[in-house]
């Protein structure tokens, strides 16, 4: 009766067994299978599902209109489906999702500005800041989210004030942290 190693079940002969070429082949095949298992984990580490979208040149947004950001390019997308408005999740997991916005338009007045991250149409992360007419309203929003395959990630921007519309630049990223 052959023996087996504890983790990868690599088969080896026991004392008294006839050792022929087939025994060595089985041993080598089992080592190969163990290496393949480690290779798969290594590939998963090196190729985490992640993506980044860029909105540049910016998007024109009128006062009070909660507006979905439409990105102009994909910086990268691996293991995640990029869309015009963000991403569609392919692999279930916990994701770090971040949104950086820059509204650089000088307006007559500004009551507030706000940016949101949505998962399948529902707001999950948001910041809303109080008025400032100074141009260059920077906004960073983000955090961890549980996602399942088919979930969509998108973003919205809203402001209220006089003048405008404002032009918003944005960078939207998602990166898988761990499995569910």
């Amino acid at each position: 009766m052959p023996g087996f190693t504890p983790n990868f079940a690599i088969e080896y002969p026991c004392a008294g067994e006839v050792i022929d070429a087939a025994v060595f082949q089985t041993f080598a095949d089992d080592v190969e299978a163990a290496l393949a298992q480690v290779d798969a984990a290594n590939a998963a580490v090196l190729q985490r599902p992640r993506g980044q979208k860029l909105l540049d040149p910016g998007q024109s947004i009128a006062t009070t209109v909660l507006t979905t950001l439409n990105y102009t390019s994909t910086v990268y997308a691996t293991g995640i489906t990029d869309t015009a408005t963000g991403f569609t999740i392919v692999s279930d997991g916990v994701y770090m999702v971040t949104l950086q916005c820059l509204d650089f338009t000088l307006v007559a007045s500004n009551d507030y500005w706000s940016a949101r991250i949505l998962r399948t149409g529902t707001t999950v992360y948001q910041r809303k800041l109080f008025a400032n007419t100074t141009p260059q309203h920077h906004m960073n929003v983000g955090g961890l989210l549980t996602c399942v395959a088919g979930d969509t990630l998108s973003s919205q921007y809203q402001w209220q004030g006089g003048g405008g519309p404002v032009t918003v630049l944005a960078r939207f990223s998602a990166s898988k942290v761990c499995d569910l």
Partner: protein
């Protein structure tokens, strides 16, 4: 036997051929152990300790008040032995490891941890303009008995564009030698009514990785 390389592998010398079966067993077990260690490290990266607390329903914070017990339910936790909640008075902490005084503390991985929270806040009555909405994360070392890190986001409330929302993210280097407690505190200065933290808020922690890896070849 001759040693090969630096992973403890070996091959037989001519005088060892009578013990080929034993050699293959030892070699197989050595390969198995080396690969198992590598696989454990890779899988550890793929499933680093992470937890997310949430509030399933709106949480009301009375006028001119604060609450450190908004997020009380785990929406996700892949490390329940080291990340738990602890209620002390009116505060719900997220704990990493065991609190002080435990004889055999549950350690957590030392290194960089990232924390964050989101609170979307809406008045339940009259909104007083220019009042603040604040969300603060505080990390306390139970052994030292002191706050080792605190960070917050705040904004001023406006009736338009509701709700008001604050969002905090921070990173802290933790030793892993004894437990720490982390709390998220939402507060406001609205005096005419209370403020709800809307359901679906999130308060989370995730292990980024060690900062002091020493590899000995």
């Amino acid at each position: 036997m001759q040693t090969i390389g630096n992973h403890g592998l070996f091959c037989p010398d001519p005088q060892d051929y009578a013990a080929v079966a034993l050699y293959m067993q030892a070699l197989g077990e050595q390969i198995d152990a080396e690969l198992a260690e590598q696989l454990a490290a890779l899988e550890g990266f793929l499933s680093r300790p992470t937890a997310i607390l949430t509030n399933a329903a709106n949480v009301n914070i009375p006028a001119l008040s604060a609450s450190s017990s908004v997020y009380t339910t785990f929406a996700f936790n892949n490390a329940p032995t080291i990340i738990q909640t602890q209620v002390v008075g009116s505060t719900t902490y997220m704990t990493l490891g065991d609190p002080a005084g435990t004889v055999n503390p549950v350690t957590y991985p030392r290194g960089a941890w990232r924390f964050g929270a989101i609170a979307r806040m809406q008045t339940t009555g009259v909104l007083d303009g220019f009042t603040t909405r604040t969300l603060r994360i505080t990390i306390t070392d139970d052994v030292l008995g002191s706050t080792i890190h605190g960070v917050q986001d705040n904004t001023y409330a406006t009736a338009a564009g509701a709700p008001d929302a604050v969002n905090v993210v921070t990173t802290e280097l933790l030793t892993g030698t004894h437990g720490v407690r982390v709390r998220a505190t939402a507060s406001h200065t609205n005096s005419s009514s209370g403020v709800d933290v809307l359901a679906g808020g999130l308060f989370w922690a995730t292990y980024e990785g060690p900062t002091d890896i020493i590899e000995v070849a």
